[in-house]
Amino acid sequence: MRALCWEGANALAVREVPDPELRNAHDMIVRVRRSATCGADLPLLAGRIPYLAAGDVLGHEFLGEVVEVGPEVRRHRIADRVVVCAGIACGACWFCRQGLFACCDNGTTGASAAESAWGQPTGGCYGHPAPLGGFAGSHAEYVRVPYADVGAFAVPEAVSDDRAVFASDAAPTGWLGAELGEVRPGDVVAVWGAGAVGQLTAGAALLRGADRVVVVDDHDERLRMVERHVGAEPLNYRDVDVLAELRERSGGRGPDVCVEAVGMAAEPPGLLAGRLGGGAERSLALREAVHACRKGGTVVVLGTWTGVVDTFPLGAVMQKALTVRSGRQHGQRWIPMLLDRMARDELRTEHLATHRLPLERAADGYVLFRERADGCVRAVFSP
């Protein structure tokens, strides 16, 4: 089959690779119909994540059609149209039973390396090396889906492929942001980053009843989307003093909930340190979120961080009694609800797919996405 392969730092190519095969009884094989780029791919693409090997297939946010099922798969049949959670989780361990699917004990094939990096293994993710999964990605004609009954969900007929594909990762990540912030009616929420996750975090905050949601970015096209498609307030940090503006828009208190949805891709460390996986990251957005947040408020970190962060304002966290929460999405918990909201037109996502390309042009799509060229928010590939 054809697939987008990583060939080295910032080098991608569509190559012929072996078809996936059923390796476990709970596996199924999906023919990919849509597969989206994601900011979490950019550190991989840049060669900043250890263990990725030349020839590995990228991509984790996808939707497709079931073509083969393992003997233990009960919920899916051949020809079902399914969206698959980007995170891989068993559904059976204690963490999955608590709804913490991204913390699954059994979701990766590289638990030992994950223990070395973070103390404990976490759930897996498609298109990531062994500590975060060890499974081929979805920028391909076909993809193997482990724990298929846990991670794949039938898509209602009323929901288009272009809308439903974002139920795989961006929409549950946005929902996670609002949930971790415990956003409630009357809250003022600020979100840093107007990409897909930032927009969907803002949308989730509004759906949970937030009184005012402000999204901070410097890309005018994205900020226009925030206003037009989400109904949140745009704030261009190149034009205004963000901290002063947020104070003013929150009655001098500061936002109740501040969400960092920018991520590691925003500020690469020095080239050598980054390639060795030891370079400390800096996050201006995260620092700004901490300073902006009201006393006793909550700062949520959604950006895909894997290493260490430098110059984190711990003093402000302590003196203002902030709660800092973070995590990867537990989509298995929310995807059915998100699909229902999509079917009812409460949650619209198709505008995020600014560039629809055939798989053969996926490398071009990543250039557009990485450079944010031509107003690109997400490139979505169709094999």
Binding site: P18, C90, A92, C93, N106, F135, R144
Partner: protein, 144 residues
């Protein structure tokens, strides 16, 4: 909840049932003997499920069963209804590992034992061990 104790020691016939040594919930894992020349640390995983489900009729789960004679194994209920704490440690008071056990344990026995515990946990929780995708080289008829 049922309590489980030490399940076997080196050189004895394979245990079919739990032994009598009971480990209470708040106790530390048993300490290594002072003379132990290789006081290996206990490797522990928590497995979803009651002890009698994790170790039906006291039988060692795969792949730990293959290490019988090379390791000692304990199980006890985890606090808060989290399941069963399953602990294993390399035996250090014998003449060293022999035969298949030595071959399996290799030159990093602690790491191997941890992997075996993880696989036992996965088997108990999901019914199988998650397998990585195979590369072109690993497949029958592949290059290499």
């Amino acid at each position: 909840m049922a309590r489980m104790g030490r399940l076997a020691g080196g050189g004895m016939a394979m245990a079919k049932t739990a032994r009598t040594l009971v480990v209470r919930r708040r106790e530390r894992w048993p300490r290594a003997a002072e003379t132990d020349p290789r006081p290996g640390r206990w490797q522990v995983v928590t497995v979803a499920g009651r002890p009698e489900e994790v170790l039906p009729r006291g039988r060692w789960p795969e792949p730990l069963r293959r290490l019988y004679g090379a390791v000692e194994l304990y199980a006890r209920p985890a606090p808060g209804g989290r399941g069963t704490e399953l602990a294993a440690r390399l035996l250090g008071n014998g003449p060293g590992l022999r035969g298949m056990a030595a071959h399996l344990v290799g030159d990093d026995p602690g790491r191997f034992l941890r992997q075996a515990l993880r696989e036992a946990k996965q088997l108990a929780e999901t019914g199988e061990v998650l397998r990585a995708d195979r590369s072109r080289v690993d497949r029958p008829g592949g290059p290499g």
